[in-house]
Symmetry: C2
Subunit: 219 residues, 2 copies
């Protein structure tokens, strides 16, 4: 990784046009070739950047980064305050826990957390507009489509409604009802769900996970 602190101006042309007037900034060049221009604020996002793969021509007073999509980043270096390179080596990478896939898995294992007597038919049940997160049946054998989100917002309700429309055209499944499950369901999403005749449920992730470990404890 190469780090250059420099007084510079920057022009980007590609998906939009952008210009940065003269100031001192940090240029970061990573081993994969991506270039980022950082100011001393604005969170972690750089002011300008160019992802790999690209071609960097780094003359002492001007860097030009181009890629095959016709994007172009031009940095004019007026004064270089520091220019250092480090060998960081490969990164073993990140492990995550608590995202939507995990929530879906937990609910697939405990569909009764959504409604009494609910049983899983299958995860990722396919339709011609994409897979439904969970397809279940209730105690009376009626089909219920479940959409799982970490954050329940309007888009998710619309998505579920589109799936229900599709499934409901299948005489073997009809009538299909829906449950919208999320850790938190936003007020607007609640209203829209009610309007569409869809039940919504806020799921307690820690409780679900706890329930799982309770079961594990039995063995």
């Amino acid at each position: 990784m190469r780090l250059v602190v420099t007084r510079c101006t920057v022009d980007y042309s590609g998906r939009l046009e952008a210009h940065l007037p003269e100031a001192v900034r940090l240029l970061m060049v990573k081993a994969d070739g991506c270039v980022a221009v950082h100011a001393d604020g604005g969170a972690y996002k750089p002011l300008n950047w160019m992802n790999a793969p690209n071609v960097l021509v780094d003359d002492p007073d001007r860097w030009v980064v181009t890629n095959s999509k016709g994007e172009r980043l031009e940095i004019t270096l007026l004064e270089v305050l520091s220019d250092t390179t480090y060998d960081l080596g490969d990164d073993p990478g990140l492990t995550k826990d608590g995202v939507e896939a995990h929530l879906q898995q937990l609910l697939a294992e405990h569909p009764d957390a959504l409604a009494d007597g609910l049983q899983l038919v299958r995860r990722e049940y396919p339709t011609d507009i994409g897979p439904v997160d969970l397809l279940c049946r209730d105690g009376e054998g009626s089909y219920i489509a479940v959409e799982v989100k970490r954050r329940g917002e309007i888009d998710g309700v619309e998505q579920l409604r589109r799936y229900m429309d599709r499934l409901d055209r299948d005489p073997l499944l009809r009538p299909v009802r829906g449950i919208f499950a999320a850790q938190r369901v936003k007020p607007q999403a609640r209203v829209l769900a009610a309007d569409r005749g869809i039940r919504w449920i806020e799921v307690d992730y820690d409780l679900l996970r706890g329930r799982q470990s309770d079961e594990l404890r039995l063995f």
Copy 2:
């Protein structure tokens, strides 16, 4: 801006749980207080981060960053290879051109690029669920709601449909039709628009801009 190159492990706990095993990485602390952990790849995005405002306790061998939402970033420094601080000063900031606002402005000036005889009633026409990008009338005086996107995807079509629902309840406007305009309309969005009785149009940004400069040339 403080830049620390260090062999470290990282743990984040908050909106999810994440762990980074031991490796050499760059820690970036900006003047606004945000902390980012960068590896030597993966584009401009850091592996882990904590935005401002937060509290950083930076002991020599362990940094703990916490915020008021209960998020916590813990960095264990096993070996510090470099620790430098630069005064970058304020950044004058970025000027952009070519984003959605610009496209909307151009279409407001040239509604006939969307359909022959179309005339603008007003931009950002208010409804009780938010403003419609453009409200127009066609040659016969019928109202047409226009949603403008840079990238036309499913969400945008649903958004337009919600606006149309609202506008259509107004007896002074009814019946209201819709046009979905974007630089590129994705296949799924095309299908959904057709399904909802909405016309979609791909707009050539450069052409529109060119048309504008043609007009300017007349003066």
